[in-house]
């Protein structure tokens, strides 16, 4: 399957292991990714907070570039926040022809135009896995079922709310896909209170205490529920859950130390890729125990 690929900026900045893992996993899943290297940041909600028209223009440009990729089935992203921020803009662009025409005027000098509707879509890897690739196809490709690995799903707000904007009418189970994918990888999904809550990232610079209390509490809940690690389709969540974990410990007054995997890393493990290639050594919270568990499986 050929796809226009929007990696987002965080995956190429602070979470390079995500970008690398996706590159390693894609061919194993039969995906041909055409990276949109001329596209710009989605704005992560901050640009639309500043200027909605600007955010809509920037994302319309990304969509137009993606629509221009010859033979692509659609556009894929690897960031819950990109999905949410882009869906928000797309919702407005799709809702009103006059508005869309106005925004398209900003793109005209480059000969770009965003066209609404048809069969074109923009999906996060998580949605792509279930809806386009299919869980059966994924299962068939699993060479190392992650038996015994207990994984806590962490979705990120932007991919679960608001349901009306995010296509839940058509796909009502999108808030269960992570559990399904974890199972398809042979691992066991762990239920805990924070799986669909907010990691606190958006306010880490404006209210550190509220932000890190959220992050810390969810990781503590996952630990208490017996998770070996957490998996997330959102690199921004990853920043607050992994990079900030040594600090969020202080706000929940306990030790944490629970590894947080990116979605393509978990899949890569099940597809038999090696730890280095998946960037598992590039985390703040060490992933050694997860690696040891998986290595033991391979040996068995």
């Amino acid at each position: 399957m050929k796809l226009a690929y929007w990696p987002g900026c965080v995956s190429r900045g602070f979470t390079p292991e995500l970008h690398g893992a996706m590159a390693a996993v894609a061919p194993k899943l039969g995906l041909e990714l055409v990276e949109l290297d001329r596209a710009n940041c989605c704005g992560a909600g901050f640009i639309s907070e500043h200027n909605q028209e600007l955010a809509d223009t920037l994302n319309a440009r990304t969509f137009a570039l993606a629509q221009g990729v010859d033979g692509a089935a659609g556009m894929v992203n690897i960031c819950s926040t990109c999905q949410g921020a882009q869906s928000e803009c797309q919702e407005r662009l799709d809702a009103d022809a006059a508005y869309r025409a106005h925004i398209n005027e900003h793109l005209e000098p480059e000969g770009l135009e965003y066209e609404r509707g048809g069969a074109w879509w923009n999906k996060n890897l998580l949605w792509l896995l279930v809806e386009e690739i299919g869980l059966d196809a994924l299962r068939e490709r699993v060479v190392r079922p992650l038996e015994g690995l207990r994984v806590g799903p962490f979705y990120g707000c932007y991919i679960v709310r608001p349901t009306r904007r995010l296509g839940y009418e058509l796909y009502p189970d999108r808030d269960k896909y992570l559990e399904w994918v974890i199972e398809a990888c042979g691992a066991a999904p762990v239920k805990y209170a924070g799986s669909h809550k907010c990691c606190g990232f958006p306010i880490v610079t404006t209210n550190r205490e509220t932000s890190l209390r959220q992050a810390g509490r969810h990781m503590a809940d996952a630990l208490d529920a017996g998770a070996d690690c957490v998996v997330t389709p959102c690199p921004l969540c990853h920043l607050n859950l992994d990079l900030q974990q040594p600090e969020s410990q202080a706000f929940v007054e306990r030790d944490l130390g629970i590894p947080v995997l990116h979605l393509p890393q978990l899949i890569g493990l099940a597809l038999g890729l090696d730890f280095k290639e998946l960037g598992l050594h590039r985390h703040v919270v060490k992933t050694d125990e997860v690696q040891a568990k998986v290595a033991a499986l391979a040996a068995a």
């Binding site: 602070f14 001329r38 710009n40 940041c41 901050f46 707000c157 959220q214």
Partner: protein, 342 residues
Amino acid sequence: MPDYSLKIRRYNPESGQPAYWQQFDVDLAGCSCQAAICGSCGVRINGMSRLACNTKLGEAAEDAPNGAIVVEPMGNMPVLKDLIVDMDAVHWKKVQRVVPWLLPEGDPPDREYIVDPESMIDITQSMACIHCGACVSACLSMEVDPEFIGPAALAKAYRFVGDPRDAFTEDRLLDLAEDPHGIYDCTHCFACIEVCPKDVAPMNQIMRLRRRATSDYGIKDGNNGYGHEKAFSDLIEKYGLLSEAQLLPKSYGDGSLIRAQVKPAALKELTAKLPTVIRGLRSGKVSPKTALIHRKLKDQDQIRRMYKEVESHEDRLELNLYIVGDSDAEEEGTMAEGGQEG
């Protein structure tokens, strides 16, 4: 008439006993307005904050774990008894906090105030609130910070900030921006939007408050909301992609790298943050190059042109779907498969 099982969380503070679950089998339930108007029936059903009166039993039964619909009192507020929470202690107190009445300039006119109907459109969404408290119950910032002013009260604040008759717009914004539990304490989690039965979209009203505070009044708050937003937007204008390493110092200096170095408060915050960046370097997560040198997007001049074009006109263009509706949707009758329905 089908039978439904309801699993209800009961609690009586006078009994001295902890809360307990009790299961009832019913075939009909109803009280109060039953029309999503009075706002008195907020509860959590299967974990979701919502109005009991506009929840269909059949649909709730489908989502019910183990066949019984789980009914609990709303969250983030103390339980008075069974399903009744203390709205006064939380919700109404917070609404009071934002001065929820009009503060016009000077003496009232002899007859009514005359306003241009157009100018009121912007606040109709925030006026639709029925004070049911569902958003307060679901708020994820309030869950960890009970002092957060919260979605309902901040939506109400926008109702007055956006009212052309009010004379204290800037003071209101300053107050809400400076409060550490004000507009910059909202974690942008969409929970309030998801649960609100009246489509008030409290989070969107909070974003409007931020937009007015930063862009219209240039309020440089002590919580760094102004700096963060400005830094983010400036970096993307300049580079097209975001670099967190530069975002931190920039956002602590009102959007300027230089100011971050001279403003004492900013400096303190920034040094508190440095361990994070250093940790990123040490874990091999980030190379010094990515941390310090910003990648520049190809075609960045195009981004800059778009910024200029959009920001050069005075009027801010906002498309509020609550007001305009999804005018295009019916015309084609199909939605993109990604499902961006309005």
